[in-house]
Amino acid sequence: MMRHLSMLLLCLVVGCQKVIDLDLRRVQKRLVVNGTITDSPGPYTISLSHTTTYSFKDSSDFISGVTGAKVWMEDNLGNTENLPEWQPGLYRTDSTGHFQGVAGRSYALHIITPEGKHYASLPELLQPVATIDSIYYKYNATEGAKGQYTVSIDMLDPPGKGNYYRWNFFINGTYLIEIHVDSDNFFDGSPLKGKVVGGWSQPQDSMLVEVQQMSLSKDAYDFWRLVDVQYRQQSNAPYDTPPAPILGNVYNLNDPNDYALGYFGASGMTHKKIWLRNK
């Protein structure tokens, strides 16, 4: 909606943009946590890293993982599961996959950093999610140099407001970095048809597309919605919301003002695949 207003504005007047030289040295160092437990078989991975400077020129500076932390998950029945360090900064449940999320239980993540700070997530209730009824694609030859595929799904939202969704999109097993989330606020209890969940503009002979449909809690939905907004609308234009910190659900247990960025989620998950054939 805001995008429309900005568009309107730019249509009506001469807005002009130029690259300026700005040096941002300030950095607020924070822990960044990311990972989700689902009701599909594991293993589940949690990544830990630190924020770095927001630099404009230097592409060599790497975001490095936090190594040497102790990480575990806990459910509301008191079961715990350790996540040993699998790769630098990545912590993973047992690869045999005996540990699996169960719908109806709440999960919390605990981290003790090498400095000894204890972070924990707020408990997340794992809610089941509806299945994807159908998946299909459309080819638009006029868009882009080589045309554009868009992949859409149909699904039926269960009655009762408060269902939140996220869709992940994979092409030949590779995750496409795009965030698609929605709330049933406007379509509660009715079929959602033609929901676009991804697109691809470099057609190969045939591609296997997989769409994961995940349930989100309200907080997780708000979090990913904001991440998406902040990523796509980094314009800070007159009719945009000023940028703001995106609070996740992981806090330092001993310091209420110290929080980690990122989110620990618990999601129900279903998926559907389709072959894209080149036209």
Partner: protein, 879 residues
């Protein structure tokens, strides 16, 4: 002489016969045997029949023959008839009635007070003059006309010189022997510039210096009309932003920020009707057609008790009444729009009307630009007003405004919004001292938005409607006291939002429940002239606010942040049931102390309360943003302001200068949780947090209102900060520390000049400078699910570059041909003369936006709006 009169009166008062005589002799019914004769004969007859005598000096008695209306009346009635139109007083001494000539000025206790009242008008159009000065030279005191041009002064009878004056008009003096109350309408003629240059006003300190009014600006419409305007379109709000203490977050931003207040804290009144969205074209223009506006007054502080409902300021805009002497038309053809105004008498000297309309036509050009995909993009507005003078005591006005903005661009945007207001007023003069105005107001703001095609197609609408009934009284007791009092009641009906799916939409219909509220208030205020040096304005307002059913209120778990997950119960309220009630007193006090005849110091304290909130979390407000009434969770806002000022006029009041300092404390301000989702949200309280604010500053202004060169120079230093410290982290902003508000611009310089070079050419210039507004830069970066994201952990800690701009304009007035009414002029204007690319905003993005997501290279982009010079030509005509 004076002392003797006093002694005499004292003696008379002490004498028992005085009190008795009042009853017994003067009120005695006397039957006379003759009803015709000289004064002497008649007095003798009255005395004979009544059994008492008269004492008087012969020079008091004329030798004319008088025929009495009746030969059977009281003694007093006889005397009144005989000495009609003569200054004679009757004093009882025992069985004697002493007749004495009344002394005019010195014998104050004897002379009965008289009242001069009437209307001040423009001699050419008959328009009422608001705030014109009536000054009584002998008493070195005066008053000003009210918003209907009515004035009333009360003083002992005598001979006085009354000086009637108004900025830009020729001063009139009337020396009058006043023996009884009089109704006197005065018409002032517009002063020609050359005349004004040589005229020296003999007035004492001007009203600007002597009155208790502080923090009040009344920019002359003459200057506003001649200031350089963006694309030639004269705009009141844009002009007001050039005054100290008033700012805006950017060029396209709607509304104004006054002394650290947000844009919803201004009570914007158009003929007393509140205007809820003052913008056309997203904020480039305001909804007020300058051709239809007579007078603009902005209260930044020292707000009189009669205004209420907003925290920071009152912008009182009065529409013209229409020429009641002759038919007049005027219009203009500009780059943005064309406009036309027609006014004239309906019944000569009794009734007149004005109608003004304008329409923009950018869409007519944009339609032909295929890339723009503009189907419709225009605004229009119509102002109309009619008045009818029933008689000297009764006058009625009917005024209305209708404005609309419509935008349809491609398949994505379909937006329109507009205000409708209607005001009916009845002025009634109870007596020469008591003036009343009863007003009925209807005001509606409606906003529609939609997307016509696709699975997200919808039509949305929201509105705010209010009915207001109020009565205001001005009681001009005497030169020392001028009382104002009144009552008002406003009924609000909000339609917070509804959404209807269209086309192949997968949306459901959403219709948020309507909200109702009633705001009732009472006020009283006194303007008290303690002595010629000290004037006080003290007022008290009480408002009672009631949020009423039907409605439902969610209750939330205590101790946890409000969220739809923490709802514990839903309370249902019936129609008319009171859901929540707030109220409180609002004291308003200001005073001035005259140091000498050209300078004064003033002080004021103001408390204001606000029960409506504008819900908007974008940098610049958009038409999508909405108003919400206070309810169980949304508390009223409150502000306290202290202001002090030094006022000084130079060069026979040609230059008016002032320095003001202020400190303001704000409470109950609405702020938003980071990333709040406000649209069509039934539980919008879960996204709102309450904050505090503080604002302080110093404002310097030198104003020149007379002569060939007019204009002003202003400097403002101001700070405005917010504090949001909730009980949980998501309800806290900036770690609970004060942070600068979006519109915190510490330094601001404004220069406005209009120079009438000769009869043909007028030049004007406008320069503005201000510190860049605060902005949030990233203070870290991180990666999440492959996305490289900036981290903004503290709000508004950086600033965009400073803003400055120069505008110029030249007006060529074609000389009026003799015998013809047609007059025309060309206005050539340059906006942003040196084409500075002022930053509106700065933002950050990955250097390669799409494709290589692993790139950590980013760049900072500066966005400018109107980043070039905008020339314009406008043609004006009048007949």
């Amino acid at each position: 002489m004076k002392h003797i009169s006093y002694l005499f009166v004292l003696f008379a008062l002490l004498s028992p016969a005085f009190a008795m005589g009042q009853q017994s002799v003067l009120d005695k019914q006397v039957v006379m045997l003759k009803d015709t004769g000289t004064v002497e004969e008649l007095l003798l007859e009255i005395g004979n029949q009544g059994g008492f005598t008269f004492a008087y000096s012969n020079n008091l008695i004329s030798s004319r023959i008088i025929i009495l209306k009746s030969a059977n009346q009281t003694v007093k009635a006889y005397l009144d008839e005989i000495f009609e139109n003569e200054l004679v007083s009757y004093i009882l001494r025992g069985n004697k009635i002493i007749l004495a000539k009344k002394e005019t000025k010195d014998s104050f206790p004897l002379a009965h007070p008289i009242t001069m009242s009437g209307y001040l008008k423009d001699s050419a159009s008959g328009e009422a003059l608001i705030g014109a000065t009536v000054f009584i030279q002998e008493l070195t005191q005066g008053t000003v006309s009210n918003s209907y041009g009515f004035y009333s002064v009360t003083m002992p009878e005598g001979t006085y010189t009354l000086v009637y004056s108004y900025i830009g008009y020729e001063t009139q003096r009337k020396t009058l022997l006043l023996r009884e109350s009089q109704h006197l309408n005065i018409e002032l003629g517009m002063a020609s510039t050359s005349l004004e240059e040589v005229m020296v006003t003999a007035e004492n300190a001007s009203h600007q210096v002597s009155s208790a009014e502080i923090s009040t600006l009344q920019p002359s419409m003459n200057i506003i009309r001649k200031m350089p305007a963006f694309l030639g379109e004269v705009d009141i709000l844009r002009s007001i932003v050039q005054l100290p203490g008033v700012s805006t977050v950017g060029e396209a931003a709607p509304g104004i920020n006054v002394r650290g207040g947000s844009i919803d804290q201004n009570l914007i009144l158009l003929d007393e009707a509140p205007v809820y969205n003052s913008s056309h074209l997203m904020g480039f223009y305001s909804v007020f057609n300058a051709d239809a506006v007579k007078d603009v007054k902005l209260y930044k502080g020292g707000i009189p008790a009669r205004y209420g409902g907003r925290l920071s300021s009152v912008l009182d805009i009065t529409q013209k009444e229409g020429n009641n002497k002759e038919w007049k038309g005027s219009g203009g053809i500009g780059v943005v729009d064309s406009r036309f105004t027609l006014e004239g008498p309906l019944v000569k000297n009794r009734s007149s009307f004005i109608i003004a309309a304008r329409r923009s036509y950018a869409d007519l050009f944009l339609k032909h630009i295929k890339a723009a995909q503009v189907d419709q993009a225009y605004f229009y507005d119509i102002n109309a007003k009619v008045n009818y003078t029933i008689n000297e005591k009764n006058k009625v006005f009917l005024s209305g405004y209708l404005g609309r903005d419509v935008y349809r661009i491609g398949e994505d945007v379909a937006i329109d919004w507009g205000n409708i207001t209607a005001t009916g007023r009845w002025n009634h003069v109870f007596n020469k001292k008591l003036f009343s105005n009863v007003t009925a107001i209807y005001s509606k703001y409606i906003y529609r938005q939609g997307e016509p095609k696709g699975i997200y197609a919808y039509e949305g609408e929201r509105s705010i409607l209010n009915y207001n009934l109020k009565a205001d009284f001005s009681y001009f007791i005497n030169l020392k006291h001028q009382l104002t009092f009144g009552a008002s009641s406003i009924l609000y009906a909000f339609e917070p939002g509804k959404l209807k799916p269209v086309d192949i939409s997968s949306y459901h219909t959403i219709d948020l429940p309507d909200e109702q509220a009633l705001e009732s208030s009472l006020y009283i205020g006194d303007e008290y002239t303690l002595n010629p040096r000290i004037t006080l304005m003290a007022g008290l307002r009480y408002a009672l606010y009631q949020n009423m059913g039907p409605g439902k209120v969610f209750t939330y778990q205590t101790g946890a942040p409000k969220s739809i997950n923490t709802i514990t119960d839903t309370l249902q309220y019936q129609s008319g049931e009171i859901i929540q009630q707030y109220g409180g007193f609002e004291p308003r006090i200001s005073g001035s102390y005259l140091l000498n005849d050209h300078s004064s110091i003033k002080l004021s304290y103001n408390r204001t309360r606000q029960y409506l909130h504008f819900i908007s979390n974008t940098t610049a407000a958009t038409p999508v943003d909405f108003w919400k009434a206070s309810n169980t969770y949304l508390k009223p806002e409150m502000a306290d302001q202290l202001a002090a000022g030094y006022f000084r006029n130079f060069h026979q009041n040609r230059f008016q200068a002032s320095v003001e300092v202020y400190y303001k404390r704000l409470d109950g301000l609405v702020d938003y949780r980071n990333g709040a989702d406000l649209l069509l949200n039934e539980t919008v309280e879960t996204e709102l947090v309450s904050g505090k604010g503080r604002a302080y500053g110093i404002e310097l202004l030198v104003n020149k209102t007379k002569g060939r060169l007019t204009g002003w120079a202003g400097y403002t230093f101001s700070r405005t900060e917010r504090l949001v410290k909730g009980s949980t982290l998501p309800e806290t902003i900036n770690q609970g520390h004060y942070y600068p508000a979006n519109y915190d611009q510490p330094h601001k310089v404004n220069l406005v000049g209009v120079y009438e070079w000769n009869k043909k050419w007028t030049f004007s210039a406008n320069f503005t400078y201000s510190t860049g507004r605060p902005i949030t830069y990233p203070d870290g970066a991180y990666r999440l699910d492959g996305l490289f994201l900036p981290d903004y952990s503290s709000r508004n800690q950086d600033r965009i570059p400073d803003y400055h701009r120069l505008d110029l304009s030249a007006t060529l007035t074609n000389p009026k041909k003799p015998g013809r009414k047609w007059e025309s002029s060309w206005i050539f204007a340059l906006y942003n003369v040196y084409a500075r690319q002022n930053a509106y905003s700065i933002y950050f993005r990955p250097k390669v936006r799409y494709g290589n997501f692993n790139s950590r290279q980013t760049e900072a982009i500066q966005l400018s709006i109107l980043g070039t010079v905008f020339p314009s030509v406008t043609y004006h005509f009048k007949f």
